[in-house]
């Protein structure tokens, strides 16, 4: 009986916290679908705002998705080998690199953005292209990729696994493909999820780096909130949800850890 009471208490608390977090989301979505938010739901539901957002801000959504995927590609190519080297060689230098990698996360995004503008702002073609924002996003998200891959690699005995593969005749590339990559799959997927979401939602740095031709979704969202009707801003959020949810759910499904089961020694 006592257990049951405790359970109900915990359940209630969890539901309360969830509601606290989810209700604003629902309200925001509803706001994007009502004819007039100040009148309320009785003013009727409409897709007008959604369509308006779609026609006006479609570009920002596609740019954000493209940007986050490009960012993912770059962090994969740079991050996984970096994590591999950091995991294999524990020297003063690699430890220093590991620490340095956290810098872009610790330093405010605005400061990083300013540094980028001061340094490369005058390279004209670069400054106005989305690659400029990409550089910022990679700086910001790379540590997350490296860290999550490194965490997985440090948890397995990579050295011995590779030696085992080598003893069976596998050269470096075979080992990397057959042993290293599959065994840090969980870390790569977790890192990918981080990178995509962070890049998609990054505002601070992007706000400074963007130009009228390179407006990302969060920057557009800020614009919409600041200068247009509340309903449009909310509809924007709704569109954002619809675009990003399938992406994230897909990544999540990939990253799901496999169940671990132990089977006792069979007597033969």
């Amino acid at each position: 009986m006592k257990h049951r009471g405790l359970f109900l208490l915990q359940l209630g608390f969890t539901l309360l916290v969830s509601a606290f977090l989810i209700v604003p989301v629902i309200l925001s979505i509803l706001a994007g679908l009502t004819v007039n938010y100040f009148v309320g739901l009785e003013s009727g539901l409409t897709l007008r705002w959604v369509i308006e957002v779609w026609t006006g801000y479609r570009e920002t959504i596609f740019l954000s998705i493209g940007l986050s995927l490009a960012c993912l590609a770059v962090t994969l190519v740079l991050g996984v080998p970096t994590a591999y080297v950091l995991a294999k060689r524990q020297t003063a230098l690699t430890r220093a690199i590991e620490e340095l990698l956290v810098m872009p996360v610790a330093v405010p995004g605005l400061a990083t953005a300013l540094a980028l503008i001061v340094t490369y702002g005058s390279v004209s073609g670069f400054r106005t292209s989305w690659a400029f924002i990409l550089v910022g996003h990679v700086l910001f998200t790379l540590p997350f990729m490296v860290r999550s891959v490194l965490a997985v690699l440090s948890a397995i005995d990579l050295q011995t696994l590779e030696e085992g593969a080598a003893s069976l005749g596998a050269g470096f590339w075979s080992r990397f493909r057959d042993i290293v990559l599959p065994n840090c799959r969980a870390g790569i997927l977790a890192g990918s999820l981080m990178v995509v979401t962070l890049s998609m939602g990054e505002f601070n740095m992007t706000w400074l780096l963007h130009t009228p031709f390179t407006k990302t979704l969060p920057v557009g969202l800020a614009d919409a909130y600041a200068s247009l009707r509340l309903e449009i801003g909310s509809a924007y959020t709704l569109v954002f949800f619809l675009m990003i949810m399938p992406l994230l759910l897909g990544l999540q499904a990939f990253a799901k850890p496999r169940p671990v089961k132990f089977v006792a020694e069979e007597t033969e």
Binding site: E163, G164, L168, V260, F262
Partner: protein
């Protein structure tokens, strides 16, 4: 059973190893391992067994000047993946991202063996190790003993020129260790493969080795057949590391060794012997009415069924360990007389 090819003869010439941090793990070592023999590296922790094995495997390079020869061919700078040696690691090093069958077939896949042949060979290995039922299991679904079998099967599947095993049984419980030790022994004999087996367990070394290399502080203390090592240890370290050794201190005069517990007639006694060593089984407990022999007092007695293990106080730093098959009972404080088989006496 499974053709392994001509067994490999391995030679180490002047192989020393100094690690990057300055640790001298191995003094210059010369060693000739005959084709087809099972050789055991035995020694206390940190004596350089693993380092030697890794030099042979190609996972570690010896210091400049050292050479590793496979059938007379210098392979010192050949990386492990080109040496075609099978390895079994203490931690098994099985690939968690592959099934049991995937692990066993991996070496063949790397060698671009056709799929059909891989399947046949994997099935053969599974049957040999009696783990056919486990073929599709993942590694985290196996017990320790099963993992050990997979590791062996994986190493043998590629028909290596030699099999290197680094404490393969240490992670298992005592009973399973005995079973697997027997299996490994018959496996190595039936394959006729050159095998190097590292252990710090002397019973394992005695049971498996055609020859044993006893190591101490990065040096070879003695190489020999198990019986030689046990009965004719070359150094005090070997004598005390392997089996139980008793020690008496005293003086020798005219073929008689005298110590605190009495005199021992020993015609071949070297004149200078001030310390003699002997095994528990070379001591006989004399009948009480015999006048000769050493006097002692039973300090502790453990009845083991087939024999009694006694600790006998003889006025030395350590009591003598005596194994008696006598039917009588021994109690704490009993006075006993001991005689020692002169053939078992050692001076080192």
């Amino acid at each position: 059973m499974t053709d392994i090819g001509k067994p490999l003869a391995i030679a180490l010439q002047g192989c020393a190893k100094t690690f990057a941090d300055g640790t001298r793990a191995l003094e210059p070592l010369d060693l000739a391992i005959h084709a087809g023999e099972t050789i055991v590296f035995l020694g206390p922790s940190g004596c350089g067994k693993t380092t030697t094995l890794r030099i042979i495997a190609g996972l570690e390079e010896p210091d400049a000047g050292g050479k590793v020869l496979f059938d007379g061919v210098d392979v010192t700078h050949l990386p492990i993946e080109q040496r075609n040696v099978g390895m079994v690691f203490q931690s098994y090093a099985l690939f968690p991202n592959m099934t049991v069958a995937g692990n066993i077939g991996y070496g063949l896949k790397i060698r671009k063996t056709p799929d059909g042949q891989i399947r046949a060979r994997v099935a053969e290995m599974l049957a040999m190790m009696q783990i056919t039922k486990l073929a599709d299991r993942r590694i985290d679904q196996l017990s320790g003993g099963q993992r050990q079998r997979v590791a062996l099967a994986r190493a043998i599947a590629v028909r290596p020129r030699a099999l290197l095993l680094d404490e393969p049984l240490t992670a298992l419980d005592a009973k399973l260790r005995d079973t697997l030790r027997l299996e490994i022994d018959s496996l190595l004999r039936s394959l006729g493969i050159t095998a190097i087996y590292v252990t710090h367990d002397q019973a394992e070394a005695m049971a498996l080795g055609d020859r044993i290399v006893v190591m101490e502080h990065g040096r070879v203390a003695q190489i020999g057949k198990p019986r030689e090592i046990y009965q004719r240890p070359a150094t005090r370290f070997v004598a005390e590391f392997i089996g139980t050794m008793n020690r008496l201190t005293g003086t020798t005069q005219n073929g008689v060794f005298s110590c605190r517990a009495g005199d021992l007639a020993w015609n071949e006694a070297p004149g200078h012997a001030t310390e003699i060593l002997f095994r528990p089984e070379d001591i006989r407990i004399a009948e009480s009415d015999e006048a000769s022999g050493l006097h002692g007092k039973v300090a502790a007695a453990f009845f083991l069924g087939d024999r009694t293990r006694l600790f006998v106080e003889v006025g030395e730093a350590r009591p003598l360990v005596v194994e008696s098959t006598a039917r009588r009972e021994f109690n704490h404080g009993d006075a006993v007389r001991l005689s020692i088989d002169p053939r078992g006496l050692l001076v080192l």
